[in-house]
Symmetry: C2
Subunit: 511 residues, 2 copies
Amino acid sequence: MGSKEKLEALIKDQGELVRKLKSAKESKEKINNEVAKLLELKSQLSCENAENQKFTLKTAKGTRDFSPQQMAIRESVFQKIISVFKRHGAETIDTPIFELKEVLTGKYGEDSKLIYDLKDQGGEILSLRYDLTVPFARYLAMNKITNIKRYHIAKVYRRDNPSITRGRYREFYQCDFDIAGAYDPMIPDAECVRVVQEILESLDIGPFVIKLNHRALLDGMFEACGVPPEKFRSICSAVDKLDKSPWEEVRKEMVEEKGLTDEVADKIGQYVQMSGNSELVEKLLADTSLSKVRAAVEGLEAMKLVLNYCDLLGVKGKAVFDLSLARGLDYYTGIIYEAVLLGETTVEDVAGSVGSIAGGGRYDNLVGMFDAKHKQVPCVGVSIGIERIFAVIEAKLLAGTSKVRTTEIEVYVASAQKNLLEERMKVCKELWDEGVKTEQSYKKNPKLLAQLQHCEEYGIPLAVILGESEIQKGVVKLRNVITRNEVEVPRAQLVEEIKKHLQPSYINGST
Amino acid sequence: MGSKEKLEALIKDQGELVRKLKSAKESKEKINNEVAKLLELKSQLSCENAENQKFTLKTAKGTRDFSPQQMAIRESVFQKIISVFKRHGAETIDTPIFELKEVLTGKYGEDSKLIYDLKDQGGEILSLRYDLTVPFARYLAMNKITNIKRYHIAKVYRRDNPSITRGRYREFYQCDFDIAGAYDPMIPDAECVRVVQEILESLDIGPFVIKLNHRALLDGMFEACGVPPEKFRSICSAVDKLDKSPWEEVRKEMVEEKGLTDEVADKIGQYVQMSGNSELVEKLLADTSLSKVRAAVEGLEAMKLVLNYCDLLGVKGKAVFDLSLARGLDYYTGIIYEAVLLGETTVEDVAGSVGSIAGGGRYDNLVGMFDAKHKQVPCVGVSIGIERIFAVIEAKLLAGTSKVRTTEIEVYVASAQKNLLEERMKVCKELWDEGVKTEQSYKKNPKLLAQLQHCEEYGIPLAVILGESEIQKGVVKLRNVITRNEVEVPRAQLVEEIKKHLQPSYINGST
């Protein structure tokens, strides 16, 4: 029996004793005496419980902290992506993490159940943002902005079933680039494709393609195949499964679950298994069924134009016209695209489970939903699947040998003997004054070995080593941490010498 | 009278008619007839109201969007601050925006009522983070980290009464730098003071001082004055008001509300009106009352040490020992500090209402609250009042004439005639390939004037101007947007020429 159980038994006995004394109407003094003992035992038990009670030390379900290493990777990826956005002239905005619930209502269909609501603590009813696109549309309508090219990198929230292995979290970053404004057809749309290409190339995460399709073409194709209009949506979501399931399964769903005839399903099957380039567009424009349907021709003409612009913008070979692409049709009104990593690289296993790493399209009606007069602001944009990209890059780094630096310290100020803290502080001050990234131990008398180990652990390229005898001679030692080579430098010229050593080429060796 | 008012008048009349019929006990049929008319009128009114009802197009109370201009200012401020943090070797981490509610419970005293809770949608009970310090402590305890130097810049949430004029929002950024680890006294503490100094100097927002005090000294001072220990806390929060109220008012509160004798209050008054440097420390160490109290001597010795280290680190003249500083004592266990803008600059009015712009101190017990065995990790840190700093800088920029650039575009590709879209695209492609920040109009045939106005509006330094006749000659025009000077450049050497023009000195003129 543990001490807790013993205590509980004692309390039970003592309680009974008190009750007995009370019912026997014993003297108040005697009763109080035993009650005091009972209270003492109870207080012991509550201490015992408190001792054993473990504080739940975890982050909320589906969320996580990021360590300095992870942050260093994230920041370098963000920098690369932002530099592409800036190369294309994008501004950035920010919106609050929560919106009035009614702003989000009716925008996400079935997925609305995944929205995080805030508790009603009096006042407005609020929800955490589910994506960055709806707040963007609300921002445009609210500020009557009719054209803007903006990027927004921020966290969004979905009460989805988290799957850590598949990189699905409840709090995750989105990374959006959108062009709003009434412009000529396919010009901003093609630039979005170019932006995706530049980003994926700059991240160097392996071969990829950017699949393109058009909403009007999908509708027109269904019409040409004889799908009744009320089934366009549900057949479309069946087509959307083609990236994971073979045609035979999707066909079965269309016929058995969604009630298409075999003939109609087979017609669809012929189309959705096609992918290619502008030659395919020409072929389909000549297709007797499609050419009769206005929406199909409209979609094909748009594809022709965007593929031509993509060629001019240097995206040839990466942009593929793919009739099976059917993503997010609730939302999109024109071109849609999706970038997919090709799984034949060193990160095959990760990429295999990673799939789509960017996607987007044209959504011309969303802003109007927020405007009292339903004034539209046409938009086209792309969302980079940043969490998936992090997963790929982290896996790549783990597989490799190179260490990620989490600080940018250039110089470590060390001492070889005791009682040199003040000297170290003076050197640090001089270096900070000159903008040199410098640190020292926070111990008064740290061991030299520990100091040098810190340099190696954090990849700090240079160490200043202060010693009594050197100080008397008016010099300090400057150590190259990688080569372990040491030189004596006059104390008065230390900062100057260090700056010479901190030429980019010199540092990069260890970065 | 509008249709709404007419309807309301009709409803009023009809209502009276119904009441009359009822009181006259008319036939049920007659009454029902008139009631039906009344209901019809009411339904017309509710339609009328619905037509006029506008969608609530706003952000949640106490929150706001940031425009590209505001974001450009924020990013430049963040960059300056981060570069100081990095100069001191700080790593960065990130934590989720919400925590299990129990993580926050019991950390903020009375202010706990300001915590935003999430709705219980099944599963864990969550709250939005109130600051970055508690999540940091949770992170250290959870990952058993015993030393780290980290910064964290992120949004926090408080259901406070928003005051836009005073820059108080419900969603706002915190910007924290903390050093965790068991080190020698005052070494990391002094570096925090240096970090604050570097940041405020690099932001160039006017003269400031950093006030320093020590918790042990405050306690010791109260003891020496004869304050009963149970009143230390409440007297301390009275002292905390000295930055806003004169001594006479604070004294009144101490005597009338908090029950000190006149004598005790006057003794406190002598001390808390003192401020100075290490000479003041020496004077107080010789003070007959204080020198008898162990905590006071301990606090004074610590002040002596930290002021000496501050001098060595070059903070002399900015760091002021101030006995009236009493901030956040629930939290802090050692040194406390607070930076205050001095209101004698061009931003006087803003700074006047701005006051404290950074603050912090040592908190050695917080991490232990999260550890099952109450293992302590001593911490010291500083929080930069970034929202107040933004307010000061925005006011400064509004007062000035310089325009904030919201993009970094270097070259605008324009056309002087129709049908040159494809030529523009080719030039853009070449420039993007070379990493030049380039944009063009998304219109097929934009007007030249509109294109040049765009360059001026966005501060784009260079414009390439394509024209039919130039293309035939194999040249393009390169225009300096500021000087309006144009040169002809061979098309084949365009990229090379542009790169020559984009020397840093050339661009900075317009940045």
